[in-house]
Amino acid sequence: MPNGLHVILHRDGSIPLVAVNLWYHVGSKNEHEGESGFAHLFEHMMFQGSENVPANMHFQHVQSAGGTLNASTSFDRTNYYETLPAHQLELGLWLEADRMRALAVTEENLENQRDVVIEERRSRYDNQPYGTMLIELFARAYKLQPYKHPTIGSIADIRAATLEHVRAFHRMYYQPRNATLCLAGDFDSNEAFRLVDRYFGDIVGDDVELYRPFVHEPPQSTQIRDYVYDSIPLPALMLGMHIPDMNHRDFLPLDVLSQILTSGESSRLHRSFVYEARVAQSIVSYAFDLEMPGLFLFRLIAQQGKSPDMLETMLWRELDDVRRNGVTERELEKAKNRMESSFVHSITSLQSRADMLNTFRVLSRDASLINRQLEHIRAVTLEDVQRVASTYLTENNTTCLYYLPYPKHQSREGV
């Protein structure tokens, strides 16, 4: 649209529903030092009232129309979404346009949501066994990149946020040229475009330069190691290796490699650690798909009586085998089949289809990549997999964290 709002329409009339999925290209990586958690706190504030929608009425409007809704914040983006009965499309557009145009929040709302977010941090991270592992790992793996601070933020930074700050954040990032709106479902395209124009067409953004950090993290040359005590019954091991960003040609092979190693009970490492040697209660890996260079993660929880250093020794032996000998044709084929089927699963719901279109558009700059995703997965070769394993899954490129149960005499502290 002329004001810079990017619009994607995807029609599917098989069930009378419509998904409204609006992305703002801002996440916790846009936060400065001392502002951690702000993008996410702001996401909460988007439900606290706008010009024509009083606090909490956003939920009320959507739910009493028979819709569901939510929002989420990640390192790279913030999304807002509603799934509505098809005849309520206009309501969704009105609500999103109103809070893009003019937020109306108060000191009191901010205080309340600050408390809610602090409890959110405790519920999801601090008070959960192993809940802080990712936070602790990212904090050590990165020296410069803003990924080093977590999206949820620190409690001190959350307490320090001000209303003025909330307003400035809205002015800078919540404007049409930083947003992409995807509609998926049962509608007429011309009518949908007309409605989008009607509600969003006259929103004019500030002419400010968006703060988009792009920081080059210097290559890691020696291994980083540390340990953390937690209220956990079984020790755990977490590794993170630096890998390129999600649009780099090595990313998909890394994703395939992760599938081969730990996806499903028949995967290589699940079989060796959990089924055969029985040294781990669980093992997962993940190639973290980020706009700037991310991490390849492993998390293993030890079986009773097994130690993290034993798991680590065995893991390096397994990775060494992959680096030297690669993986088998059968393993590669299986991983591709699983990725194909999980892709098909993830498009069974309109909302996840809309979100995927936005992912490709905002983070990879091209929504139509969704149609070539399977082809790109199919094109990954045995050589690709071995090459990325040798390049990235190396000792020196690794941050290694042991999670250990509190020693017995300490565990009663603070009673």
Partner: protein, 466 residues
């Protein structure tokens, strides 16, 4: 703001015309041996979801906690012709997934796969249902996994509070014991126990095969006939499980987690059966009370007070009345205030009729979001399983919306009076034991437990004086 486009943006736009939604119909056929085959074809994506369901679940575990779920999980860990790894490899290798286990009222095996592999999936399904091997070596693996899982659960604040709550309510009845068993029962389980459960429950007349997704009903029936047709019929029915009795007096229990930075709160009592005539009224009453974001509980505890990231309530409806529980994870210092608010909201719903507008909001939410509940094959399958398992009748979901719309403020109040009991509700929390022992005393005598379930005596100076 006003409008270069000549419109009024101050008020929400009027909705368009709603389209009719009906619950998907499904074909039903019965094999010669009594096994039923149900198919709902949904041919938009090349996916198939198959579930083979047997009546009788964890609620029959009165002799050995966790037996149904262990038997269920072990079904796919080897048959007379396939090893555990062969089974999972053959399904996952084709891009599918396989799982098995037990619910309160059933045991089941589920396979999701791309439709070009339906014949293979059916072959595996029949094999694991009919010829599971229950090898000792595989059982030992599962025991170790379970024991580690049980240990893990002892560090999870939500699980600790929930398990103690169930024990407080139902004692030794299976509803009061973890579905996956405890250390002792898991250690004790033998392959003979598993074989006995299989022999009792796994026969054609006690089963139905449900297929949802990209499948042709006739072809599917032929395939089912080929793999299950020669399974001998048996003239038997599964015996009834003993109904639970929920405690009806106030107890206040704390599970001590010395390093907790929050308290997990559960407040509740016995609830409702899935087959009850009051089920719809009670679930709408609960939605209004604590079942969606705009519920009274969440607006009060989260949006008004900022005590929690989210507060909710649920009636867990099973064949017999399962628990009703309201809960939240709250800031430690205000645990007592949060509990007070939960009880206050329960009282309010009993004592005052809801406003017609508030009820209407909930009715529109529940009926309007119905298409969202049947969007994916998995969701449709879950609902058909409920219809079959609880004998609701094929038209149950088609009557659902009109039953919801017919509810009145009086009917909601009546349901609250009958199904919410703030004065006798059990109050169970996990968090910092010593602190909570003192602050929760106003609700009744406080009992503190460690994470292994042993009582921690009160050793504060005050208690010694008394």
């Amino acid at each position: 703001m006003s409008t270069q486009h000549g419109r009024d943006v101050k008020l929400p736009p009027a909705p368009g015309v709603p389209k009719d939604v009906t619950f998907p119909d499904y074909h039903e056929q019965v094999l010669g041996n009594g096994m039923r085959v149900l198919v709902h074809a949904q041919r938009t994506l090349p996916l198939v979801n198959m579930n083979l369901v047997f009546r009788g679940g964890s609620s029959h575990d009165s002799a050995l906690a966790g037996l149904a779920s262990m038997t269920g999980e072990m079904l796919i860990k080897g048959t007379s012709t396939r090893g555990a790894q062969d089974i999972v490899e053959s399904i996952e290798g084709r891009g599918g997934s396989i799982g098995s286990g037990a619910g309160w009222d059933s045991m089941s095996i589920g396979i999701t796969h791309l439709s070009r592999h339906t014949a293979h999936a059916m072959d595996v399904l029949a094999d694991v249902a009919r010829q599971p091997a229950f090898h000792e070596e595989e059982l030992q693996r599962m025991r170790e996994q379970r024991l580690a899982d049980i240990l893990q659960e002892k560090s999870s604040p939500g699980v600790l509070a929930w398990q103690r709550f169930c024990a407080a309510l139902y004692g030794g009845h299976p509803y009061g014991v973890p579905q996956d068993g405890d250390e002792r029962s898991v250690e004790r389980m033998t392959v003979d126990d598993l074989r006995r459960v299989h022999a009792e429950r796994f026969f054609p007349g006690n089963a139905f095969l449900l297929v949802v997704g990209d499948a042709d009903p006739d072809a599917l029936l032929r395939l089912a006939e080929q793999h299950f047709g020669d399974w001998s019929a048996r003239d038997a029915v599964i015996g009834d499980d003993a109904p639970p009795t929920a405690a009806e007096e106030r107890v206040v229990q704390v599970v001590d987690r010395p390093n907790a930075v929050q308290t997990s709160v559960v407040v509740g009592h016995g609830g409702i059966s899935r087959t009850s005539e009051d089920y719809i009224a009670v679930s709408v009453m609960n939605t209004l009370f604590g079942g969606y974001f705009g519920s009274r509980l969440n607006l009060n505890l989260r949006e008004d007070k900022g005590y929690t990231y989210g507060a909710h309530a649920r009636f867990d409806a099973r064949r017999h009345a399962g628990p009703f529980a309201a809960g939240a994870e709250v800031r430690s210092e205000i645990t007592d205030l949060a509990i007070e608010e939960i009880l206050r909201e329960m009282h309010r719903l009993r004592e005052e009729p809801v406003l017609p507008e508030e009820l209407e909001h909930v009715q529109r939410y529940v009926t309007g979001s119905f298409p969202l509940q049947i969007e994916t094959p998995t969701q449709v399958a879950q609902r058909i399983i409920s219809i079959e398992l609880y004998g609701l009748g094929k038209t149950w979901y088609n009557r659902f919306n009109s039953s919801v719309m017919a509810l009145t403020p009086e009917r909601i109040q009546e349901s609250a009076q009958r199904y919410l009991h703030p004065d006798t509700a059990a109050i169970v929390v996990s968090g910092r034991g010593q602190q909570l022992r003192n602050t929760l005393e106003r609700f009744g005598a406080v009992q503190v437990y460690d994470t292994d379930g042993a009582i921690i005596p009160d050793v504060s100076p005050l208690a010694q004086d008394l």
